[in-house]
C-alpha cells in the first residue's frame, strides 16, 4: 500500500518520528500492539526494505514509527534521516505482528534500551495494561524519551548502568508477570541470561528480535530450482541479493524472527544469525533463514 509521510518530528539528533497516512484517506489495516511495518525505501541502485515497530495505538488513523539513524547504515535509515520529507509517498507492506502481548499475562515487566522502546509505546496505549517499564538510554536522550512515556511510578528511565539492578528487579516480580524485552542484542542477551538465572521459565520471557542483519564476507548462493546464481556482497543480505536478482523468496520480518523465509540448504554450510531455528536445527545445517544468515563456505546451494 502507498502511504504518505505526513509529519516528521526530530526527537533526538539520532531519532526521527514519522507519521504515515494513507494517500487517499482510506482506513489503514489495524495494527495491534507490537506490530511492525516494512517500508520500501529508495536507495542508489536498489530498494531497502526495513521493518519498524508501529508506536501508535491500534485505532489511530495514521501509523507512527520511529527511526534511529544507524551508524554505517545499510541505506534505509540514512535516507529516512537525510532525504525523506513530508509529502513523500512510500510503498509500505501491511503490518505484521511478531511481538503481540500475551493473552494470559496479568502483568508485564517491560525492559527496553535505546530505540527498543518502540514496540512498548504501542503496548502502553492498551487500556488497562498493568506494567512496570524500565528503559535504558543515553543521558542526552533522557528528556526525549521521558516526553514519550506516561509519568508515574510504573516508568523508570536509566541513564547509567548502575541504576538498573536487573537481578533484584527480576527476582521481585510477582509470579503472574510476563517479561518482554526489546533493545540491542547485547542488552537482550544480558536480560535473558539474568532472567533464566532468576528462575524465569522461557515461556514467560518474550523478546523482539530485529536488526540481526549484519554484513560479512561475500559469498555465492546457487538457487537450484530457479537456476540463478547470486553474489551476496559484504553489506547486503542473502534476501536482498535474491530480490535484486528479480527473485521473490518468501519473507516477512526481515529480521530473523518469524521463520517465513526458511530455505533448504542442499550444499555448503550456513552461518546462522537468526532467532528462529532451534539449536538442533542450527547444528543440522540444512536450513537457513535468508534474511539474516550468511555462509561459512564460499558457496551455498539452496532449494529455491
Amino acid at each position: 500500500m502507498k502511504l504518505k509521510i505526513e509529519v516528521i518530528d526530530t526527537l533526538t539528533p539520532g531519532i526521527r518520528k514519522f507519521t504515515l497516512a494513507p494517500v487517499d484517506g482510506s482506513p489503514l489495516p489495524r495494527a495491534g500492539a507490537g506490530s511492525h511495518v516494512v517500508l520500501e525505501i529508495p536507495g542508489p541502485g536498489r530498494v531497502w526494505k526495513n521493518a519498524y515497530s508501529i508506536t501508535s495505538a491500534a485505532e489511530a488513523p495514521a501509523y507512527e514509527i520511529m527511526v534511529r539513524r544507524v551508524e554505517k547504515s545499510r541505506g534505509g535509515s540514512a535516507w529516512l534521516h537525510d532525504h525523506a520529507k513530508a509529502g513523500d509517498v512510500l510503498e509500505v507492506q501491511p503490518p505484521q505482528n511478531l511481538f503481540a502481548p500475551q493473552r494470559l499475562a496479568k502483568r508485564y515487566l517491560l525492559l527496553s534500551a535505546g530505540i527498543g522502546i518502540t514496540p512498548f509505546l504501542s503496548y502502553l496505549k492498551l487500556p488497562g495494561l498493568v506494567y512496570e517499564l524500565h528503559h535504558c538510554c543515553k543521558p542526552e536522550d533522557e528528556a526525549a524519551f521521558l516526553a514519550l512515556l506516561p509519568s508515574g511510578p510504573q516508568v523508570t528511565l536509566h541513564t547509567s548502568r548502575n541504576t538498573l539492578n536487573l537481578e533484584e528487579l527480576l527476582k521481585r516480580q510477582k509470579l503472574d508477570t510476563h517479561l518482554s524485552v526489546c533493545g540491542p542484542e547485547s542488552f537482550m542477551d544480558v536480560v535473558l541470561a539474568t532472567a533464566s538465572h532468576a528462575g524465569w521459565p522461557a515461556a514467560k520471557v518474550h523478546k523482539e528480535s530485529f536488526g540481526g542483519a549484519t554484513g560479512g564476507e561475500p559469498f555465492v548462493a546457487r538457487l537450484r530450482r530457479s537456476g540463478v546464481t547470486v553474489t551476496v556482497g559484504r553489506e547486503e543480505s542473502l534476501l536482498d541479493a535474491m530480490e535484486a536478482a528479480g527473485l521473490a523468496p518468501p519473507c516477512l520480518c526481515r529480521g530473523g524472527a518469524c521463520g517465513e523465509c526458511k530455505l533448504h540448504v542442499l550444499d555448503g554450510v550456513p552461518a546462522h544469525h537468526d532467532h528462529y531455528l532451534s539449536e538442533a536445527e542450527r547444528a543440522a545445517n540444512n536450513e537457513i533463514m535468508i534474511c539474516v544468515s550468511r555462509a561459512k563456505t564460499p558457496e551455498l546451494v539452496l532449494d529455491f
Binding site: 509470579l175 532472567a195 533464566s196 532468576a198 514467560k204
Partner: protein, 184 residues
C-alpha cells in the same frame, strides 16, 4: 488408554527453579525431599484426631484437608515472586485442582508439575445433574444427588479435575453390570 488421560512424569525438582513448593494430598511429602539442598517447602494433608491440626515440622506444613490446603495455595501464589516452581502430588482430582489454582494465579504450565500418587480413586462428574462425587474406587457408582447408576468413563476433564460419569442403564433400566475396581 484414553487420549484424555494425562500422563505424569516421576517426581523430580526442576533445577531451573529458584524456590520450590510441593503440595500433596497425602500425609507426607515425596521421599527424599528433606535431603534436598534446594529452597523447598512442602504442604501435606494430615490431622491429629478430629479437627486437630498436626504440628508443623521443619519445611513441612500440614493442613487438615485438601480444601484448606488449596485455599491457602491460591492466597500464597498471589504473594509469590518469579522463579517459584509448584509441584502437586496425589490424587488426580487434587493435582488438577492445584494446577487450576496455579493457572488462575498466573503461573505458566512450565512452572507446574503434576505427579499421581496414593489410592487409585477418582472424582466423578455426573453428566446428568452436575454433581461431583469424590473418592470413587470403582467404575460404577450411584450419583449422590440424582441416584443414577453411573459408569465412570476413562474421560478426564482437566477443568473439573473429574472423570465423566454417564448413566450405565440408560438402554435397559435396572441392568447394572458388576463394578470393577480402578487399576489406573
Amino acid at each position: 488408554m484414553s487420549k484424555s488421560r494425562p500422563v505424569y512424569a516421576p517426581f523430580g525438582l526442576d533445577p531451573a527453579g529458584r524456590a520450590h513448593l510441593v503440595v500433596t494430598s497425602l500425609d507426607a511429602p515425596p521421599e527424599g525431599i528433606e535431603d534436598s539442598l534446594a529452597n523447598i517447602e512442602a504442604w501435606t494433608v494430615k490431622h491429629n484426631g478430629p479437627g486437630v491440626p498436626a504440628p508443623a515440622v521443619a519445611g513441612v506444613r500440614p493442613f487438615r484437608s485438601t480444601t484448606e490446603l488449596l485455599a491457602q495455595l491460591s492466597h500464597r501464589l498471589t504473594r509469590e515472586t518469579a522463579g517459584l516452581r509448584l509441584y502437586a502430588v496425589g490424587s488426580e482430582a487434587f493435582i488438577w485442582d492445584a494446577y487450576n489454582a496455579a493457572i488462575a494465579a498466573g503461573l505458566h504450565p512450565s512452572e507446574i508439575s503434576l505427579h499421581r500418587a496414593g489410592p487409585l480413586v477418582r472424582r466423578v462428574y455426573c453428566s446428568h445433574c452436575r454433581t461431583i462425587i469424590e473418592d470413587v474406587p470403582a467404575n460404577i457408582v450411584a450419583c449422590s444427588s440424582c441416584e443414577a447408576a453411573l459408569f465412570v468413563r476413562d474421560h478426564f476433564s482437566r477443568r473439573l479435575a473429574a472423570f465423566m460419569g454417564v448413566k450405565v442403564d440408560a438402554e435397559v433400566p435396572g441392568e447394572i453390570p458388576e463394578a470393577e475396581v480402578f487399576t489406573s
